[in-house]
């Protein structure tokens, strides 16, 4: 999920399972095909253009099909698109759509639905935040349209006929296909959407589905019910008859519900992982979501690279993941999570190749810090750390404070702020230190590394390096069609970012520990977009 | 005369933080059918406690009846269970309290409050009881009774409320009516009305009344016999004329002497000095001794027994002992005694000069 700054615990990011479809092969659907699960928050909206958070994308993903969808092992599998062709210059993508897909109101799903949806997403009047964010610089003219300088019709997307969709890109985008599986790129039935007006996507009856499930009941804040969409083009592969979702926010409540058999899955916090250790129902799934300390370089001390390096080095990440998180999260030692992208040829993991870019060394950290203070000419420093608001945030903040304060002369004040307020402080760079996170919007190193280019929308550290900018630029333009070179450039960029310039202090790569009833099978976990794919899930209650 | 109630050696105590308060310390008296016995005495002398004990309404704890018999028509109420007492209360003995403002339930209709006893004791139906309630209200002189049964206490004036209280007490034609300062909270004119009302009704129903007050004027008005209480004991008891015109106990002298009479001369009132004793540890000897200007050595050491003055008149003071020196009562009392002998001589009635 893009920009998941808040993805701090197993919470806001929805729930993840360690269930791999590998196990799916073992069983057979048997018994009542009903899945009872929880989510951690109410769905803000089911309008794909307006959706911004993980909960919304999760349930959009379950009820709708885009051009492609994420399958096992994050492989893209055809959905509404049967196949696609890419032009020589990699700028024109032509999708051939299947003809048997329909909306739940009986209308066929056509290329026009995509044109309408994408135009709607960048249309400034829609007020979409993700539309322009995902499409600007990707789809031709998106930027100009979203700033109102060009009519929406100019968007580089066109229905050649009912079942042929042609997309013009701004520049070659190697990962474009993975974008088409993202929620913002889902199709919309124009007639239906316009008929609902303001109410579109707000109630179960103001939603139109074309995916494996459809929402039949939506009790706000309490929960919702999805049932199998019998008209789905791939309906025979869908086993679950019903998914009942309840909103539960307390972990202990969730665990109690799970233990009492009322729900089939429960995400755990560290304390419960400990309690459930040894249970074969406990699954740990690592996610490509990275957490790090963001340091504002406009701050006199944090502008000093030695100071930043000291901060990188002083934190003990092992303790952090083992004791505080204790849910299978792993220490982060770079900007790219492990098991996220692989070398296009050797298939070696990005993380593996670059290895740990930082180490924990308190002595050295202290030296660097002393040096930094000397350079700046200060004895004591007070830094403000924006606190998080998740379940473990308090402990995490307390821990970071204690760790950082090992540096002589440093005092850290924790300032707890609501999530939205933190976003604002981030945007306006009115922070000194903050514990931030990032999850991929698409499967490509660019989604992480692109953040730190000069004036990047989510940079907000004040980091600006011509060299670094040049590397990213090169990877995305010059090497756009040369995967290996591109990959190597990214490797180089990460080293520069973390090792040389110490822009951020990576903390950990998140994992989610979750209890799954043994009879639930075939749930797929995704690294981006919707957290889970329930399309192939089934209940095996032999 | 037929004896209705006889109280023998009644003792009541309260257990408090400070210790045992001996509120009533051995009281003996009797009440005959149809007569009115007034009990006078200053605040805290045990008047209310005595009468509450008769009804067995002493809050328990902290209070308890320590000793004594309460023979009502020959049966000892002191030994009755709470259940048995509930049958007596309101039916054979009923009670009127001092303050008409607080002795009615503010949230219950007047009619219901009168009916309650009727339904309970006379086994009347609701409608019968209501009819009777209206009659009773008319009996005590409340106009427009049929409408007013449905009103609440606050819609009545003080005097009217006290009439309602009387009506409640009279509902079941009790044999004994105990009135604990029933007019103290009222204006003189209204007080006079209520007193008249009570006398009237007594004439009609022939019930006995124990009337508690500290107003000697009221006593003179209502009583046939008078008992004077001091510090938890009856110190003098006799007919109303005996007490008013031939008092023997110095405390009674004090009481009478401290009231100016309308025709008395302008001289100083007779005041009892000091304050009543603390019943937590009552003094040795005569409890009144410390305030008694005629006190003798023996008063400090020994409690005086009841000395008989006449068949109906007794007083507990050593002054009546044969060895006691002759003592002249205060002038105000002497005047009263003179008047008595004058009256006896002339047997005159009617207007006095």
């Amino acid at each position: 999920s893009g920009g998941s700054d808040n993805a701090d615990g197993g919470d806001t990011g929805g729930e993840k399972s360690g269930e791999k479809s590998g196990e799916a092969a073992e069983g057979e659907p048997s018994g009542e095909q009903v899945l009872n699960i929880t989510d951690s928050a109410e769905i803000p909206t089911m309008d794909p253009s307006l959706a911004t958070d993980a909960v919304a994308f999760q349930w959009l993903g379950s009820t709708m099909d885009g051009l492609y969808r994420l399958g096992e092992d994050a492989e893209l599998e055809p959905a509404i698109a049967k196949e696609h062709k890419v032009s020589e210059d990699a700028l024109t993508w032509t999708f051939t759509l299947r003809e048997d897909a329909t909306w739940t109101n009986g209308d066929p799903v056509t290329a026009h639905d995509f044109v309408f949806a994408w135009q709607r997403a960048v249309n400034p009047e829609t007020g979409s935040e993700y539309g322009p964010y995902m499409m600007n610089g990707v789809i031709k003219n998106a930027e100009a349209i979203s700033s109102g300088e060009m009519p929406v019709e100019e968007l580089g997307v066109k229905a050649v006929d009912d079942y042929t969709l042609e997309v013009q890109l701004e520049k070659p985008i190697p990962y474009f296909l993975s974008l088409t599986a993202f929620g913002t790129f889902l199709p919309l039935n124009q007639e239906f959407v316009e008929a609902q007006g303001d109410k579109f996507g707000l109630e179960a009856n103001t939603i139109l589905s074309n995916g494996p499930f459809k929402m039949t009941e939506w009790k706000h804040e309490e929960g919702w019910t999805l049932v199998k969409n019998e008209d789905y083009w791939d309906a025979e592969k869908v086993n679950l008859e019903k998914i009942n979702v309840s909103v539960v926010k307390e972990t202990s409540t969730r665990v109690n519900l799970y233990d009492s058999g009322e729900i089939d899955a429960a995400a755990l916090s560290g304390e419960f992982v400990q309690q459930k250790a040894g249970s074969d129902e406990l699954k740990v799934e690592e996610e490509p979501v990275l957490f790090y300390l963001k340091m504002n370089q406009q701050h006199e001390v944090l502008g000093n690279v030695n100071a930043r390096k000291a901060i990188q080095m002083v934190i003990n990440r092992e303790d952090l993941v083992n004791v505080i998180l204790a849910n299978g999260s792993i220490p982060a030692v770079g900007d790219i999570p492990q098991n996220f992208v692989k070398h296009p040829e050797t298939g070696e993991d990005f993380r593996e190749i670059n290895g740990p870019l930082i180490e924990t060394n308190v002595e050295k950290a202290k030296e660097l810090w002393a040096k930094a203070l000397e350079e700046i000419g200060k004895d004591t420093v007070n830094l403000e750390l924006l606190g998080g608001d998740s379940e473990v945030a308090k402990e995490m903040d307390a821990y970071l404070k204690a760790q950082l304060e090992q540096l002589e002369g440093l005092t850290v004040t924790v300032k707890p702020v609501p999530f939205k307020e933190r976003l604002r402080l981030d945007t306006s760079m009115e922070y000194e230190l903050q514990n931030a996170g990032w999850g991929p919007d698409y499967i490509d190193p660019n989604t992480f590394l692109n953040l730190w280019v000069t004036d990047g929308g989510n940079n907000k550290t004040g980091y600006s390096s011509e060299e670094y900018d040049a590397l990213i630029e090169k990877a995305n333009n010059e090497y756009a069609t040369q995967p290996v070179k591109r990959f190597e450039t990214f490797l180089e960029a990460e080293k520069m970012l973390i090792q040389e310039d110490a822009v951020i202090a990576p903390l950990y790569q998140r994992a989610v520990a979750k209890l799954w009833k043994p009879y639930v099978k075939g749930v797929i976990t995704n690294p981006m977009g919707p957290d889970y794919t329930y399309k192939y899930a089934y209940i095996d209650k032999k | 005369m037929e004896k209705l109630l006889q109280v023998n050696n009644l003792k009541v105590s309260f257990d408090t933080y400070g210790g045992e308060v001996q509120a009533v310390r051995g009281v003996n008296f009797e009440v005959n059918k149809g007569e009115t016995l007034a009990i006078v005495g200053e605040s805290g002398s045990g008047k209310s406690v005595t009468t509450k004990a008769l009804m067995r309404l002493i809050p328990q704890p902290p209070g308890r009846i320590k000793e004594g018999e309460i023979l009502f028509e020959g049966k000892d109420l002191a030994k009755y269970s709470e259940k048995q007492m509930q049958k007596i209360r309101g039916k054979d003995i009923s009670m009127i309290f001092q303050d008409p403002m607080t002795s009615l339930n503010p949230t219950m209709k007047i009619g219901n409050q009168i009916m309650e006893g009727l339904v309970k004791h006379q086994k009347m139906s609701k409608s019968q009881a209501k009819k009777r309630a209206i009659e009773l209200m008319e009996l005590v002189g409340l106009p427009d009774a049929a409408n007013r049964v449905n009103q609440y206490p606050h819609q009545f004036s003080g005097g009217q409320r006290q009439r309602v209280v009387v009506a409640i007490a009279l509902a079941c034609n009790p044999k004994l009516l105990i009135a604990d300062e029933p007019t103290t909270a009222l204006d003189v004119t209204i007080q006079a009305q209520i007193l008249e009302l009570m006398k009237d009704i007594q004439k009609k129903t022939d019930s006995a009344i124990i009337f508690i007050t500290h107003d000697l004027g009221v006593v003179a008005n209502v009583a046939d016999r008078v008992a004077v209480m001091y510090a938890g004991k009856i110190v003098e008891i006799g007919t109303v004329d005996e007490i008013f015109y031939n008092p023997k106990h110095p405390y009674t002298w004090g009481l009478l002497g401290s009231m100016p009479s309308l025709d008395s001369a302008d001289d100083e009132l007779y005041a009892i000095p000091g304050t009543p004793p603390d019943l937590l540890n009552p003094p040795k000897g005569d409890a009144f001794a410390a305030r008694n200007e005629y006190a003798m050595k023996i008063d400090m050491e020994q409690e005086p027994p009841m000395f008989k003055v006449s068949d109906t008149h007794y007083a507990a003071t050593w002054l009546l002992h044969e060895n006691a020196p002759d003592i002249a009562p205060p002038p105000a009392i002497q005047r009263r005694m003179e008047k008595m002998s004058r009256d006896v001589q002339y047997q005159t009635k009617g207007d006095r000069p």
Binding site: - | A192, L269, T275
Partner: protein, 311 residues
């Protein structure tokens, strides 16, 4: 008795606003004089405005209308502090409730010395103490009591403390608002005797408010009878008892029980019906017999005169 007027009350009115539109006319046009050295008794049923009259005279309330002239000066015009202070020393009050009238948190010494402190009548703490001890003795208490708190005293003793407090500033006029009605019978005489004795010794003037008519008669030189905020009759004490004219007064007198069984056996109570009055004209306060004033119409006056011509 000298006939020097100490207090003149002229058409005194005290109306309380109790709601937006409702007004209680607690005192509604009182006119009477109090002579130096006398005791003026004020009687009437509960709520007729006796206390209000007393409190208005001593300026606890600002009068709605009318004047109170004390020693030749209008009390209610006094504005400056010094004048007020002087006035406060001249006129004092004794209250009804011996429990509510003493501050439970102050020692007796400080209660009695309050006036002394306010008016700075002594120069040293020793002198203050001495004065307090004197006052305690005057009211029949002793100096050990000075260090005690009010709740340790009986009702009669408290009332005497209240009197000592009033005496501390050596007033010439004392308003006693039902000073004995909350006391036990045996104690009442103590207080009344004390008041009489003090009057003799200090040449005091009293306004004695009560509803116990026998006591009022005993202590008062002249008596005013109040009914619903108005004075209905005013006369010398003996005269009033011998010749009550206003039907309300007659009713009141006939209702007082006396500690005399003989008398009580023969007592006839008179009722009072406010509607029995002649309504042909506004009643006025008229002198029916010398120094005997009654609220009546001319017609009624004739009638009263006739009835009480003898004696």
């Amino acid at each position: 008795m000298s006939k020097e007027k100490l207090v003149e009350i002229k058409n005194l009115k005290q109306h309380f606003k109790t709601g937006r539109h409702s007004v209680v006319k607690a005192v509604d046009g009182l006119t009477f004089d109090i002579y130096k050295g006398e005791t003026f008794g004020l009687v009437g049923e509960s709520g007729c405005g006796k206390s209000t009259t007393g409190r208005t005279i001593i300026r606890l309330y600002d009068a709605t209308d009318g004047e109170v002239i004390f020693g030749g000066e209008n009390v209610h015009n006094k504005k400056n502090k010094a004048d007020l202070k002087k006035f406060n020393r001249e006129m004092q009050m004794i209250f009804q409730d011996p429990y509510a009238s003493l501050n439970p948190r102050m020692k007796v010494e400080d209660i009695i010395a309050e006036g002394i402190d306010i008016h700075e009548l002594v120069n040293s703490p020793q002198e203050r103490k001495k004065r307090v001890h004197e006052l305690l003795e005057t009211v029949g208490l002793n100096k050990e009591h000075a260090n005690r708190y009010p709740h340790e005293f009986s009702g009669g003793q408290r009332q005497r403390i209240g009197i000592a407090r009033a005496l501390a500033v050596k007033p010439s006029f004392i308003i006693a608002d039902e000073p004995i009605s909350a006391l036990d019978v045996s104690i009442q005489a103590q207080v009344v005797n004390l008041m009489k004795q003090l009057q003799r010794e200090n040449d005091l003037t009293y306004l004695f408010i009560a509803h116990d008519l026998s006591m009022v008669k005993y202590i008062s030189d002249r008596i005013g009878v109040m009914y619903f905020g108005k004075l209905v009759e005013l006369a010398d004490a003996d005269e009033l008892y011998k010749h009550p004219m206003h039907p309300y007064t007659q009713s009141l007198l006939s209702a007082i029980p006396l500690p005399d069984p003989d008398y009580e056996r023969n007592r006839v109570r008179k009722g009072y019906d406010p509607n029995q009055h002649d309504t042909s004209e506004e009643p006025e306060f008229r002198e029916v017999r010398p120094n005997h004033w009654v609220l009546c119409t001319t017609k009624e006056m004739e009638h009263y005169k006739k009835e009480h011509a003898t004696v």
